[in-house]
């Protein structure tokens, strides 16, 4: 298992390098003079020259690339153009909120999606199946900000069960949890949809396998056949789907944070956009790149847990 982990980590290095290069390229495709984009066309040539130096834009491209990589390797994301604070500090300050939200959404996705998918597969074309299909269609169809706004209007503005202005910063754990419910459910809805779908189709396939017949021949009750023998096998495609859609989840977390006015990377991105803080934006892209790579590693390690064929080759 240790070797498996080490191998997987080594595999992540080229991916990380590639994704960071992508970020570097993306930030440098700004059309026209970036100093004008940032400072506006009223800026004096001196101010623009100063900014150019600060951003390292006076250096040749390969040298900028080198500095970019070295800086990241040192865990440094540079300084904000607006506040001049180290970007790493800003990110660390809000990262726990984003992680909290994403993890909560994942838990909701699995805790609701798996049972729903199993029920749907067991009573095919029955009520649960019908409901599951409708629910997953809705989950796949809702853009995160649309479902977020509808939830906010219904449960915060009209019913007043949850705060309209996020209290995620509150020290009171109950209040903090209350602030988490709606955004986590909003983000989880999409995950529920994906997980329900894959669980349903995976169960339908698994229940037709030879080993299920063997389990029935053993005289196991239906409950154990479904939840132990079939579901254990369906965990593999479920993990695949969760891994594939972690990216979607991270993207939607940003939108959800904006709708629910939660602190987090999403609000930081909006701040960066509004203030044309390209250094901050680049830093946030680097963080997302890391998040993606880490998510992929975690997915593959989870494979090792749910599929014995992975860790023993």
């Amino acid at each position: 298992m240790l070797r498996f982990v080490a191998k997987r980590l080594a595999l992540a290095i080229p991916t990380l390098w590639a994704v960071l290069t992508l970020v570097f390229v993306l930030v440098r495709i700004v059309p026209g003079d970036p100093t004008i984009v940032i400072l506006g066309d009223q800026a004096t040539p001196a101010a623009r020259e100063a900014l150019r130096q600060r951003l390292g834009l006076d250096q040749p491209l390969w040298s900028q690339y080198w500095d970019f990589m070295v800086q990241i390797l040192h865990g440094d994301l540079g300084r904000s153009l607006v506040t001049n604070r180290p970007i790493v500090d800003d990110v660390w300050a809000v990262l726990p909120f984003t992680i909290e939200l994403t993890v909560a959404a994942l838990i909701i996705g699995v805790a609701m999606g798996v049972p729903l998918g199993v029920l749907a597969a067991r009573k095919r074309d029955g009520f649960a199946d019908w409901f599951a299909r409708l629910f997953s269609l809705a989950g796949l169809s809702f853009p995160a900000f649309v479902s977020g706004i509808l939830l906010l209007i219904a449960f915060a503005v009209q019913l007043r069960w949850f705060p309209v202005i996020s209290t995620a910063n509150a020290t009171d754990p109950v209040e903090r949890l209350r602030a988490l419910v709606l955004p986590a459910f909003n983000l989880g809805l999409i995950m529920v949809a994906y997980v329900t779908r894959v669980t349903r189709s995976g169960m339908l396939k698994a229940l037709g396998e030879d080993y299920i017949r063997t389990a029935r021949a053993k005289g196991l009750p239906q409950r154990l056949i479904v939840w132990r023998h079939a579901l254990r096998n369906v965990l593999i495609p479920i993990v695949t789907v969760i891994g594939l859609y972690l990216g979607v989840l991270i993207g939607n977390a940003v939108v959800t944070e904006i709708v629910f006015n939660r602190p987090g990377l999403g609000k930081l991105i909006v701040t960066a956009l509004n203030q044309r803080d390209y250094a901050l934006l680049q830093g946030l892209m680097v963080v997302s790149a890391f998040a993606i790579v880490v998510a992929n590693i975690l997915t593959d390690l989870t494979y090792g847990l749910v599929d014995p064929r992975v860790k023993t080759q």
Binding site: D210, Y211, R213, T214, A217, L220, R232, P308
Partner: protein, 331 residues
């Protein structure tokens, strides 16, 4: 291994007038017709026939494992170890399966759950039927793995199916089926998917275990060589009908039904120089089955009367030897 309790009757498995229907395109067809037989303790009954003749459906009917939407037992009685399976509730059947009656399947590569350890899959039945603790069941699983001659059993308890060869997996299947010391074992083509040398080993193992445990074995196979080496009695099926039923020696010495003759003629033998004679034509699909004798569409002896269904008639000298053929029974 505790000896199975000796009941008054030594018949471990009785099947009377079993008719099993399957649904094809919305219509029900009888895929197994009026099949009756008994298997006694320590006895091996071989069920023989081409694929699609109803052998496996018979087995699944006995186990109560027919896929509900497309298969059902429409008539007949199945008695396992004194318990009428056809009249039993699903819960009762569940309690019988894996406990009083076990089954091994043809595909050792796919019949084991790939994500559960071997030891657990063997121990599972013991925990279910015997209420054993996890530890006790694990210990028993090691014994069972040793019984089916899996080398270094204790070390391989937590191994997964993909770490086993086909032959070893089939041994695991046998260990699973025998875990609760059943009285009846159904073996559906247990060696078909294996290499020839491994086939012999697995068959020898099955024969040994049968002796030790006093098992009644229903062996389903299309391989007459296997039948000759392990069976006590033979039943030939065609199109869902039992067309011939005979003690093993009588069957090989004097096959009577034209289909049995054709099967034997199609089998390669070292003691016979004659050419292999494949059976002409194919088994008709269920919707296309002829009325009356189902073999008539391929039978060289066909007469007008074959349009009526012949009964399974005992042959003159031997009440144990029956044949379902107007021509041969009348002769």
């Amino acid at each position: 291994m505790s000896a199975a309790p000796i009941t008054a009757a030594s018949e471990a498995l009785q099947v009377e007038g079993l008719t099993t229907s399957i649904r094809i395109a919305g219509h029900w067809f009888d895929a197994v017709r009026d099949v009756s037989f008994t298997v006694r303790q320590r006895e091996t009954l071989a069920l023989v026939g081409e694929s699609g003749c109803g052998k496996s459906l018979t087995a699944l009917s006995i186990m109560g494992l027919l896929p509900g939407a497309v298969g059902r037992v429409s008539k007949g009685r199945i008695v396992v170890d004194g318990v009428d399976m056809t009249a039993a509730t699903e819960a009762k059947r569940e309690a019988m399966r894996g406990d009083r009656i076990g089954m091994i399947f043809q595909e050792p590569m796919t019949s084991l759950n790939p994500v559960l350890p071997i030891g657990f899959q063997i121990a599972e039945g013991l925990m279910q039927h015997r209420g054993m603790s996890k530890d006790a069941a694990r210990k028993r699983a090691v014994q069972l793995m040793e019984l089916v001659r899996i080398p270094s059993a204790a070390d391989r308890l937590d191994a997964y199916p993909h770490q086993f060869s086909g032959g070893m997996r089939q041994r695991v299947m046998i260990a699973m089926a025998l875990a609760c010391s059943p009285r009846v074992l159904i073996a559906d083509e247990p060696t078909t998917a294996l290499d020839v040398t491994i086939q012999a080993q697995v068959l020898a193992l099955l024969a040994d275990l049968q002796k030790q445990e006093g098992l009644a074995v229903l062996l389903i196979t299309h391989n007459l060589g296997v039948v000759a080496s392990v069976a006590d009695r033979v039943m030939v099926m065609y199109g869902g009908d039992v067309v011939e039923s005979a003690p093993m020696r009588a069957f090989f010495q004097a096959p009577t039904h034209p289909y049995s003759e054709a099967l034997l003629a199609a089998m390669p033998r070292v003691d016979r120089a004659s050419k292999l004679a494949p059976i002409p034509g194919q088994v008709p699909t269920l919707p296309d089955m002829p009325a009356g004798c189902r073999y008539q569409s391929r039978c060289p002896l066909r007469i007008a009367k074959c349009a009526e269904r012949p009964p399974l008639t005992p042959l003159g000298g031997d009440p144990e030897h029956g044949v379902r053929c107007w021509v041969r029974a009348g002769a």
